[in-house]
Amino acid sequence: MIHNIDLEHLRPYGDQLNDGVIQLSFTLPVPQGAKAREAAKKLIESMGFSDVQIVHSEDIGEDFTFFVIYAKTTGYVNYKEIKTLEVEVPKMGMEEINEKVFKYLKRQIVVVGATIGSDAHTVGLDSILNMKGYHGDSGLERYKAFKVYNLGSQIPPVELVRKAREYKADVILVSQIVTQRDIHIKQLTELADILDAEKLRDKVLLIVGGPRITHELAVELGYDAGFGAGTMPSEVASYIVEKMVKIS
């Protein structure tokens, strides 16, 4: 970390320490012009910004105006008081994971994965589960330690729970990528509720992943862990093994 930071009053760094510069872009549903620019400026000021510079405003059709703005925030945070919930993952390699599982559990860990509800995107799920993995990091299917059932996309939570029971799942992995109006929250909650009702919740490790997922949100929704964008398959594998070995 650079010198002389006042961590109790942390502010954005643009061009120099503590300048508080933030870039913003948004659209107002009014025609382009002086009035629209003034409205944008006032709006930004109302959010606690100063030195508002409208560097670009443009008519983008049908009386919509697009803005690019730089402004300085007057706010700050006390970095020292920040507490976050993160998944604590001891990094393990594939061999280590396989060994550990057969040494302590003496069987494969059964993982059932799906995207639930309306989400049709399997990119995230596949990059964690498929052999090929993500950026050279192999997916769970390649580990001897895991037996993977990838159910694919748009699986109703009820169906996922049924399959989890059928396959005697140790781990349920759900992915939620594209969402609108927070429907992912509803679907994730529904899954957790069904597991509770079916008395399965305590028998499985329940994990969710996706670009809008944080560990904190996952825990709040009753999940064991949440993984955000850029998570590698080996991180998820390490987490599962660590937890499973601990439970046993």
């Binding site: 659209t27 983008i60 049908e62 697009f66």
Partner: protein, 519 residues
């Protein structure tokens, strides 16, 4: 910029693809499906829902199916019912919807009268579609076809009225094609929802009423911007031919329509999809609706370089299925995509090579080029750069239908400014590099030439294998997108049946006759 490909090998590839699809077509010819029959019901004028909200085309087909008569074709039962009850198809369907009688229980009427009725309903249906088609063709001619690549954007608010606002803004900014994304999972519904809708997730329900609203909005704005604006929707699920029918009735210009997408990505039964795609494409071919095939999806799941030849193979198969449905190549939007990992050295050269291969193999088609999605991240600034390179490949290689990449891909459905930024990027690149492709001569035996030739060779080997084992077994083997589907599995299998000796479908026969295909 020209690829020097082995001409004999191209011919060989086409011949193999033809033989592969000839085999499948034999299965298709013997069968029909619930959705094919519902399509006929719709085209005979049946629409609306019963008091329980079930669409009447489903009601009549299910009624005949329950009575064991569907093997004969819905055309016969509707015509017989119309004669018996002296009602038009809509009134007849409404009565069936009220459970007043079952179509199969009505006494068989004079054969000549029933045949006459079928012919009359067929003629009316064809006339309706023709008049919509001719109106579109005329409007296209009058307003002028925009320059290619056509700028294609998506709206997906869930609310058709909100979609209209965003579509109009996009057209003002320069969009040539508006696609209204369907509400997620609609493709798995075995019926088409009825009426206009304002609630949907990740998209807006494809309904005839929604089609009409968007069509009117685009036709209203087109003269104001001085160019024809195309409307697109999706015909890839369990209602593939039915969607084509309502698209034909409402004057849509394009449909996503792939001969295998439903099987692979929606786990729809193989036979169901093959039979449905045929009827669906007949309607598209007849109505001058451009199909967009879905090869871009393969390389979202399998490796875009190693498996590039599966894209080519599928393109050739899609082309042959379309030809079997009497489609003019200019209505074939052959699909492919820019999906290579941005960290790959010379990834841009691979992309040029693959895109040019598609262009070269299908000189009379209108290739549909799809943007990066797989390696898009939350870093919207990098994403914008990726889309710039994608736009550059498209203009260099002379693509026709160009779906714009969104900088917020993989984050949320596009905000109004995301679409604007995408359009301005494309317009900038298309204008700035307008003649780049025609200025460049590719190095003989250089990277781009060799890669394209290699993909073609691999496609031919794969087609040889597919020919050997048959397309259905090849799909079981996981040839496409690394996804394996078995012949007997998948959704909608119970909606496929073998036609009986006395099966009749005069509507389909008539458009087959006009298009010069079929028996």
């Amino acid at each position: 910029m020209r690829l020097e490909l082995d001409g004999e090998m191209i011919e060989r590839a086409r011949k193999l693809a033809k033989e592969v699809t000839d085999e499948v077509q034999k299965f298709i010819g013997l069968r029909s499906t619930d959705s094919v029959e519902r399509t006929v019901a719709r085209l005979f004028g049946i629409d609306g829902v019963n008091s329980e909200g079930a669409p009447l085309p489903n009601v009549v087909v299910d009624d005949v199916k329950a009575g064991g008569g569907l093997k004969r074709g819905i055309s016969y039962w509707i015509a017989n019912g119309c004669v018996a009850k002296n009602l038009d198809p809509q009134k007849l369907a409404e009565a069936v919807g009220r459970k007043e009688f079952s179509l199969v229980k009505l006494p068989p009427q004079n054969e000549d009268l029933v045949a006459e009725k079928m012919d009359e309903l067929t003629a009316k249906a064809i006339e309706k579609i023709e008049s919509v088609r001719d109106k579109r063709d005329k409007m296209l001619e009058e307003l002028g076809d925009p320059k290619k690549p056509y700028i294609y954007v998506i709206v997906a608010t869930g609310n058709i009225y909100e979609d209209v606002i965003q579509a109009r803004a996009a057209v003002r900014e320069g969009a040539d094609i508006i696609a209204v994304i369907r509400s997620t999972a609609q493709s798995l519904l075995d019926f088409i929802p009825y009426g206009l809708t304002t609630e949907g997730y990740g998209g807006t329900y494809a309904t005839q009423a929604n089609f009409k609203i968007m069509r009117e909005a685009l036709d209203d704005i087109a003269p104001k911007v001085g160019r024809y604006v195309r409307l697109t929707n999706y015909a890839s699920g369990l209602c593939m031919p039915e969607i084509s029918a309502i698209a034909a009735l409402e004057g849509l210009d394009m449909l996503l329509n792939d001969s295998m997408y439903g099987i692979l990505f929606r786990n729809i039964n193989m036979m169901r999809t093959f039979v449905d795609q045929y009827t669906s494409r007949l309607i598209c071919a007849f109505s001058h609706i451009t199909i967009n095939t879905g090869e871009d999806n393969y390389i979202k799941t399998s490796d875009p370089i190693e498996r590039a030849h599966t894209v080519t193979t599928s393109q050739l198969i899609n082309e042959q299925f379309a030809l079997k449905a009497g489609m003019d190549p200019k209505y074939m939007g052959i699909g492919h995509a820019f999906e290579i990992d941005p960290d790959v050295e010379n990834g841009f050269l691979y992309e040029i090579s693959h895109a040019l291969l598609t262009r070269t193999l299908f000189p009379y088609a209108t290739p549909k080029y799809m943007p990066p999605t797989r390696y898009m991240t939350g870093n919207i600034f990098k994403g914008y750069a990726q889309n710039t390179l994608y736009n550059l490949v498209s203009i260099m290689t002379d693509q026709s239908i160009h779906l714009l990449g969104m900088l917020t891909e993989a984050i949320h459905t596009p905000l109004v400014q995301d679409r604007y930024l995408a359009i301005s990027n494309a317009k900038y690149v298309f204008n700035n590099a307008a003649s780049l492709g025609s200025e460049i001569e590719l190095k003989k035996d250089g990277f781009i030439q060799r890669e394209a030739q290699k993909v073609l060779e691999n496609a031919v080997s794969l087609l040889e294998h597919v020919k050997e084992v048959g397309l259905m077994t090849a799909i079981e083997e996981g040839t496409f997108a690394d996804i394996s589907r078995r012949m007997d599995e998948g959704k909608g299998a119970d909606g496929v049946f073998i036609k009986s000796e006395d099966y009749s479908n005069p509507f389909i026969e008539e458009i087959e006759r006009v298009l010069g295909v079929g028996r």
